[in-house]
Subunit: 223 residues, 4 copies
């Protein structure tokens, strides 16, 4: 999965952190079905809260966009996140007797809080591109993981999770976000973005967010 | 039109400024058809740019909401603004040979800029309720004007404008926003909001935004 | 006065708006003493409120700085603004029986509000450099005006105003802010900033803020 | 130490988390001198980066203040933080061959990042009071710890650290911040703040920030 031209460069710049994230033990255990149910539910509750704050960050992106297309794609993403993407969480948790109000009010684990608040601060302290660089690892990493596990995974009770992120719908979101990033880079850093003095900084934001994804999986494994 | 219990109180607190806004010469000329076409188009172009920044302010509200319902209603409003509500502007201007990219890039009149940036700063400097108090005069004032003109207006080439804001769809938006405000007030100021030390401050924001609406109509009349 | 290398480029990009601002009738009347006292006091009260919000914008810059030097210079400017630079206003108004609490609570003219909220939004919607481009016309324009009037002005009751901005202290602030801007440009746009796709955007912010300065003088003349 | 009337209420609301923070093993080892030098230096480097972002949060408070006194006290705190309070860090680290540029660029531990970005988001998502509630545990907790250790601590190489926070200067900062909080509460929640519907929310922010302080000490112990 490349999702455009910028993402592969950022991913390469993240070095081993990208492998630590996308090949994390949590991911392997989702794929082979060995993940304890308790860990999955713990993760799912935290991920619901994550998505609430992540959609706040996409809403912040609407306020920082410079073109109508940028605004609309970000606004659509807010809708997708607090609409469709939480459905998996809400339905799965409902079967376990956890309703959405409980999800919304769940105490945030520090690893969860660290990630979303870092993303939000990337937007507040920087510009639209700084924010996208911090948003990208989650959106595109889940796309990459989903696509890979769809072909690699064996029998697993977590097939529904895999299918969600491997789905054509989600992959199209990733393609659209990849194009949004490429356009945002061109508008702000020009034709040779790697020559821009801002390049190391945006790579750093991507890498930091990737490290915080690793921490999120760690938290999922150790409730 | 009351749109809940808070709006009538804020409207009363705005005193004569509310009349200056909702009974402005621009509004009367929309109703009796005497408004010069040039003024209407000037207004419409500025109002398009206004709606872009106004939808940024509603997106900011998503980042400041405290409940899922607050988030969702604000996110829906962003969609409505940069989707449906600009359709009137885009279609009318298209007939005059002005495309949407041109609208988006139109130079902002100071009276336009003053209003939207004040609203945005109300959000950044205050909380969700401060932001709603600055958003309210536009949303609910247009609902009030539309509903009144629907019954009062005579033959006018601006019937389509009136119908847009008198429509059941738009009136439902106003009812929903009125309920959002009432809920936000209850959550933050309690059962007797007028006794809260914050009451004068939120009324002040509503009044200031109302004054800036008056300036917006003035700008419309004098291109 | 050049105050570094970026300011002359931004000033040139603002074209005639820069002359409209720095050679405004209000400025001429300050210099030749023909400005009505009432206009000056009206201006001074509004300028006090302006400085309050302008110092909020410099505080926002502290939150968006990327180096310790950027942070410290912005923090020093906040102190200078809400400390030293308002002293002229406070002392002059005190002689007229207007105390500082009254100044702080003075109703903001729309032209005043438009300017400061535009600057704040430049920071919230963009990055540190976007914010500096909107802050620059006020800081450096007053430096330029002060330096020019110090040699050109005749007998005028507004000599104290002129001396404030012509003073070595204020000129050093301008030199420091000019250097801050040059450094911020180099860090974000590189060695050939005019070739950056962001260049027109930052020039646009500088020009818009300059136009809003013109509106501020207009407001001063017509209380 | 009470530092006013609000702090003791918030502290009580934080329950055992307050003890976990102020009686943490890291604190005990500072007091009895058993803290490994390596842990102290690790902590000090992270705390330097913490103070950079913490001063950004106080600068954000300047942008959200509603009175001149609120603005000035917050601006003074920014100065104190990036001036005086980092001196201990800079001087101690200089002796170890770590210069200030290196400190500024030190990679942030997730526990560090979680705390400061949570505080910043408390400001962006809420109002001035929400921000103060998240700022308070660090400022006032260090005051409480410093004052207690000044009398309790034995022979320890960390006496300079203890003296910094036990000093009259720092204790006066705490008294001023306590008064700032009391005033901010009165202005926003009224005479009976515990009856306000916002009370649980501000207590929650204080408690969350306290929990993140515990995580910060944990991080200090385990480099």
């Amino acid at each position: 999965m490349t999702y455009g031209t910028t993402f592969p460069l950022w991913r390469a710049a993240a070095g081993e952190h990208w492998q630590d994230y996308t090949r994390h033990a949590f991911v392997r255990q989702l794929a082979d079905g060995s993940l304890p149910r308790e860990s999955f539910l713990h993760y799912l509750v935290q991920d619901y809260v994550f998505l609430v704050h992540f959609s706040r960050a996409w809403a912040l992106a609407v306020t920082k966009a410079e073109t109508l297309d940028e605004m609309r794609l970000c606004a659509d993403t807010v809708q997708a996140l607090i609409g469709d993407e939480t459905r998996l969480h809400v339905e799965t948790c409902a079967k376990e007797g956890i309703d959405e109000a409980t999800l919304f009010a769940a105490p945030e684990a520090p690893a969860n809080l660290a990630y979303t608040r870092y993303v939000l601060d990337s937007g507040h302290s920087g510009d639209f591109l700084d924010l996208l660089a911090a948003l990208a690892p989650c959106v595109l990493g889940y796309g990459e993981i989903g696509a890979r596990l769809a072909s690699e995974a064996g029998e697993t009770p977590y097939r529904h999770w895999i299918d969600t992120y491997a789905s054509e719908d989600y992959q199209q979101v990733c393609t659209a976000v990849g194009a949004l990033i490429d356009g945002a880079v061109a508008r702000r850093l020009g034709d040779d973005p790697q020559a821009s003095p801002r390049w190391p900084g945006v790579c750093h934001r991507f890498t930091t967010a990737t490290r915080l994804e690793v921490g999120f999986w760690d938290m999922g494994l150790a409730p």
